[in-house]
Every structure is written in C-alpha cells, then in structure tokens.
Amino acid sequence: MLVNKNMIVEKTKQKIYEIGMDDMIEIDAAPNGNPIDYRNLNTQIHGAINENFTNIILNNVCGQRFIGAGLQGNIEITINGIPGNDLGIFMDGPIIKVNGNCEDQSGNTMNHGKMIIDGDGGDVIGLSSRGGKIYVKGDVGYRVGIHMKEYEDQFPTLIIGGTAKDFLGESMAGGKIIVLGLKILQDGTIIENPQPICGSELGTGIHRGAIFLRTDENIEDRLGVGAKIFELSEEDQKEIENDIKDFCETFNIPITTIDEKPFKVIKPISKRPFESNYCGYLV
C-alpha cells in the first residue's frame, strides 16, 4: 500500500542511516498481515519512483522476490523484513538497505549501486555482478561471488562480516571479495566467528580478481582449481583499506578489531586457466 508523503518513519532498532523526509514514502508489503506478491510490490515501487520519491521504505517484507529488479538512478530503498531471492537483480545505481536477513542471489548481475544487508545473506550472492558494493554483516551460504567480473571503471566489491561456505568466488573474473570472520551479537558485542572462514573449493576456476580472507586458519587444502594463496602485500593492504573502513563504519565495528588477525589473499595462478586444455587440428 502506498502511504502518503511525510509519513513518520517508525524508528527501527538497527537504523543505520538517515532519511530525508520530503522525498520519502513507506510501502507496506504485508497489509493486515497478508504479504502482497512481488509483482504488486515492484509495481508500487515503480509508482513511487515515477512520483519522484527517492527514499522508499518497505515494511513487513516477507520473502517477496526481485525487489528493486532493474532499478536505476539515485534511489534508496530500505527493507524492513526479509526480502526473497534475487534482491536487486540487474540493479544499476540504487542503494538497498536490508534490516534483516536475505534469501539467495542478492545482487544477481548487479551493474552498479550498493546493498547493505544488516543480517545474514543466502547462497550465490553477487552472482555475475559487474559493479557496485554488497555488504553483508553476518554469514553467507554457498557459491557466493560466483563469476563476479570487472570492466573498465566498474569493479564489484563484496564484503562479508561473518563467514562463507563452499565455492566462494567460483569462476571469479574480476572484483574483490573480503571475508572478515567476525560475529556481531544481538547486543552489539563483536567476537571472532567460531565457524571456519570458508568452505571447500575456494576460488575454483578464478581467473581475475581477488579474495581476501581475515583468518589464521590453514586453508591450503580448501583451495579450488587455479586458485593460489598469497601473503598480503602492501599493495593488497591498500587495496582493501578503504573498503574495510567503510564496512566497519556501516556496522559500528571498531577498526582495531580487524587488526587482530592477518589477511590471506587468494588470487588466480593464471589469467588463462584452461588455455592448454583445447586444441584445434584439421582432422
């Protein structure tokens, strides 16, 4: 339901941003406790954008898929609840903030923009993304960051506050993934995450880009095909400094916490991992 301009925002506990009031609108994704379907929800979002609202707050989101699919421009969407699969698919510019966990494939084929997930993420986050930033405060699932790629000034960055499962950064063709291995408890205390930093087949098929893991675990036997562990160089350090700073500010993590463990960086052995696998002869 579209709610009129200048409605008062119900202050959520985890509010981590400011909202300008004039251009703000609230949409209830489950009026009277009945979730509306994604098509209806997206139609309302498009309606709001057509009326020049740039701050869109979605309340009671309950698994609706494709929120923000293919949206462009200077728009900020706040999601209170749990969005469904393919959040921000093909998105090209907007900022999406989620006060809650996410289902799978957030940021699928995203081109540009920012996604801040104040909770856990699902599987296959950032699939084939070509640009933009995705921050996940908690843990994520399998095949996260698969086939991320970069092009000219477009460079996707995916930062995970917690840990990841198997196939992290599979077939990666560009961009960077940072996994911090922290756990932020309900009351805001930050501890080292007891789970392993990542699962097996780490970076399998990677041929461009890099994965930064904040860990002292031995991850050698988790490496996938074509991936190699490097010690963090000064250049690498510089490469992630600003990203980590921004991430820590976003989720109120004291930057000193980060220094308590070293980073390992996973990069491709070769830019052409399967070069010698094929041959052409006139037979």
Binding site: Y38, L127, K271, F274, C279
Partner: protein
C-alpha cells in the same frame, strides 16, 4: 607435451603455371599461410590448406584449383581416415579437440526422409502468385482464451477483458540463429541485423552482448542471457524485441561457451563488458538455475526488470528428455521456447560434444509439440526450432512437424560467402566472417552480404508460399503442426511413429 605427428593433408593447391600472372594476390588473400612467392613462382604448403577457396576465387587468372589429396592411406572401413587423424592429433597434443560449424558426421537427415502432400481433385490448390498466402506470424505468448465484456445496452460496447501479453509481428517464419560478435565479425553481425530489419524478421545476438552501434536494430533482435551474463546490463535488456535465457546450444549441450582471450579485442571487450584480452568463460550451468523452479525465477526476474514489455523465452538444446523439460519451461512462464538440434552450428565446441551429444531436431520438434498439446500449452507459446535448417524444404517440414519459426545460421553464413571450411574457432576466416582481424573483416561488404541474406530468405518465403498453395493452405499458421501433410519414406518406421507422421502410401 605436444609431439607433432604430421597428419596427411586433405587438400592440395594446384596452380596452373601457364595461367598464373604472378600477381601474388592469392598470397595476400590466404589467411592460413599456405601460399607464398619464392621469387620465382607461387608455392604452397598444402599441410596448412583448409580449402576455404579464397585464393581460387580471388585469382584474376583463374589459375588455382583446390583438389583433394589423392595420396592414399591404407583403406579400412572402420578406422576411417578421419578417425585415424583424430587419434594422431590427440596423441600429439593431449588436448580436447575443437570443432566449428555443425556436426560433420554423415548421419541420415530425417528431413530428407519426409515428403510433402499436395492437393489433387478433392481440395483445390491456391495460386500464390495471384492469391494472398499469409506467411506473417506473431511472436510471443498467446492467451489460453479471450474473454470479452459487453455492455448490455450498447451493441458496440464489447471490449476485450483478457490482458494480452507482449507480442510482435514477423513477415516470415524465419529467424537468424544466435551468433555472437566474437564468434563472427562486426560486419557479419551488421549485415545480419540489417537484413533482419529490412525483412521484418528477427536475428539472435548470441551470448556475447550487443554492441551499442546495433541498438538501432533492437526491434529485430533477440538478445541472450547466458550463464556468463556477458554484456548483460539494463541497456542490453531494454534493447531487444525479446529476451532469451540460453540454457543450451545444439552443438554443445551441457557445455559453457569459451572465448579465448586473444579474441577479446577492444570491440569484443566493449560488447561483452570484460577486460581486453581476458578469457570469456561461460560457466557450464547458470548458477542461479538448478531446477525448473529456478528457471521460472529467472524468467520472472527478467520480466520484472523489463516491466513486462517484451517476451521472455528459453533456449535448450534438443536432448533426450526435451519434451518434459519443455513443459516445465512453458509452465515456468516462458513466452517462447527455442529448440536447437544436434546438428546446430558453433564457432567453437569440443568435437566430442558437437558430434555425439543431443538428438535430431525433427524428433525434438515432434516430441515437444505433441507433449505441449497434451498439456494444453501448445497454442500459448511460440516454438522456434533450429539445428540444421539448411534450405526451404527443411523449414517447411519443421513447421509441419510443429515449429512456429525455423531458425538457421549456417545458410546465412554461406550466403555471405562462407565455404564451410569448419575453421571458425581459429579466427582466421578468409571471408571476413568468423574473424576479428580487421584486414579480414573488411573483406566482407556489409550491404552486399545483407542483400544476399535478404535474397535467400525472400526465395525461401516464396518457396514456402508455393508449397502452401500446392497444399491448398492460405496461411503458414495452418501448416504448423499439420503433420498429416507429411509422409515418411525412410528406412525406420519407428521414426515415423515418433514423428506422428504416416508412412508414404498410408
């Protein structure tokens, strides 16, 4: 480690020394390094010759002939020359052998075993030159039924209640199959898109993105969203008549595309949106699609992202279980379904898959058409079929078996000058088609190539009308799935049964 074992060459360049003017034109035109001038005469390194015929065509003295190398291997009916060559190549290199174009095994064509019906006495035929025969078709999802609302008091006040889904019109039931910029040249793409626009048909972009120069052809272009998502951004999604999720390709079902870094020029880099010189590796599956439900999800996502303005469909290679998969795809929301048979072409694919995986398109069309009809879905969806539609006869038979549109690519390349040398994956196409090298690409004149494609399809369409007229049918839509107008004359009656076609004489 590569251990080279010379493979007996297939071809020989014969130069008529009396006719040769030593102009060296052939040397310049050979992109495979076969010909050279040794100061005295033109000499050839026949081992490298691929019989692309460029030198022979360009020679002003008509002095060149490419002939088969008559040097003989001991004959063996089972270990053919080809099989021995494959073994020598692999034992020398140790790699997976690549191949281009479609399956080259001499497998019997089912299309060739089908005969068309014609009118005699009891039903009049139609003269297509004097009477209108419609070859126009509509592309996109059709509603199951139409409902109208009427205003009781006003007879004029009847209006359509059913919400129509996006559809567009094509003048011929023909589509140019998906070939990416990368697998073919800029000029070849340009000629194809221009021809599609002027003929009011559609052409596919393949999975390599759409160069911004070609956005003007968007109303006649179907773009692909494949597992690599190369070049897929909002501009790409918004510049298409229809969007196709590419699951598979007839020449390489189950295999991801692989464009080697050396072919990723700045033009290709711009189109695919990847850095220059980096490999473009398409993951084998879409990693957001592991089930029909997931596929339905991507279909819905694409429709959401394009605000329900264009049809969204799915392409699969014709494989053993195509029929139930097709049902899932249509139920999953696809507005069109593209089937690509095992003879479908490619710019590069592992030979083992190109030659041995998939099923013939004829059987897949019949099976899918039949199953969709059983499920009450057939009329809702546009069915495109390709995978060796070589000429109008194949097109007509494909439609009679159950396709709405015949898709082809190889005939388009041949029309532009391709000699089917099957070396596309080397990027040295001397005809400027399957190459990115500027000096070769400029050999292909866009307007001449465009006109040749237009002529080809114009003649196919006229032949289609002739056949429709002879059958007494006035619209191609009435030929679709009209299998009673086909008869089988091949050796295996079980094929006729699967096709739902009677044997000749029945």
């Amino acid at each position: 480690m590569a251990i080279v074992h010379e493979i007996l060459n297939y071809f020989k360049v014969e130069i008529n020394r009396e006719q040769c003017k030593k102009c060296k034109r052939c040397v310049n035109h050979c992109s495979y390094g076969v010909l050279s001038f040794n100061g005295e005469k033109i000499v050839s390194d026949d081992q490298k010759c691929v019989a692309c015929q460029r030198c022979a065509v360009m020679c002003p003295g008509n002095a060149i002939r490419i002939v088969q190398n008559e040097s003989f291997l001991p004959p063996h009916g089972n270990y053919t020359r080809k099989i021995r060559n494959i073994i020598w190549a692999q034992s020398g290199d140790g790699g997976v052998l690549l191949a281009a174009t479609g399956n080259d095994r001499p497998i019997r064509s089912i299309f060739d075993d089908l005969l068309l019906d014609a009118c005699q006495v009891t039903n009049p035929s139609i003269d297509p030159l004097r009477e209108k025969i419609e070859t126009k078709i509509f592309f996109g999802r059709r509603p199951e039924k139409l409902t109208f609302v009427s205003d009781q008091d006003d007879l004029e006040g009847v209006s359509l209640k059913t919400k129509l889904m996006p559809n567009f019109e094509m003048d011929m039931p023909i589509m140019v199959g998906h070939m990416s910029l990368g697998s073919i040249s800029y000029n070849a793409c340009h000629a194809i898109y221009k021809a599609a626009k002027e003929l009011n048909i559609v052409a596919g972009t393949g999975e390599g993105g759409l160069h911004p120069d070609f956005f003007e052809y968007a109303p006649n272009i179907i773009t692909e969203v494949a597992s690599g998502r190369f070049g897929v951004d909002l501009n790409y999604l918004h510049n298409a008549a229809a969007l196709e999720i590419k699951i598979g390709q007839g020449a390489k079902p189950g295999h991801g595309g692989h464009l080697p870094g050396e072919k990723v020029s700045s033009l290709i880099s711009q189109t695919r949106m990847i850095p220059k010189g980096s490999d473009a590796l398409s993951p084998y599956p879409h990693h957001d699609i592991y089930s029909i439900e997931d596929l339905a999800q991507l279909i819905a996502a694409l429709k959401e992202a394009t605000r329900y303005k264009v049809p969204v469909g799915v392409k699969i290679a014709a494989v053993h279980n195509s029929a139930p998969i097709a049902v899932g795809i249509v139920r999953g929301g696809a507005d069109f379904l593209t089937l690509d048979g095992f003879r479908g072409g490619t710019g590069a694919a592992p030979r083992i898959i190109r030659n041995h995986a998939g099923i013939p398109i004829e059987l897949a069309i019949a099976a899918v058409d039949e199953r969709l009809r059983q499920e009450g879905l057939r009329d809702q969806v546009t069915l495109i079929a390709g995978g060796s539609i070589r000429y109008s006869a194949d097109l007509i038979k494909a439609i009679a078996l159950g396709a709405d549109i015949g898709m082809c690519a190889m005939p388009v390349l041949i029309a532009m000058g391709c000699r089917v040398c099957q070396q596309c994956f080397r990027g040295l196409c001397s005809w400027g088609i399957a190459t990115q090298q500027k000096y070769l690409v400029k050999r292909l004149d866009v307007d001449i190539a465009k006109n040749r494609i237009k002529n080809l399809f114009h003649s196919w369409n006229e032949e289609l009308k002739e056949v429709l007229g002879a059958m007494g049918i006035d619209s191609v839509e009435s030929l679709r799935s009209n299998r009673d107008r086909l008869r089988y004359i091949g050796p295996n009656p079980h094929i006729a049964e699967i096709l739902g076609v009677k044997h000749a004489g029945e």
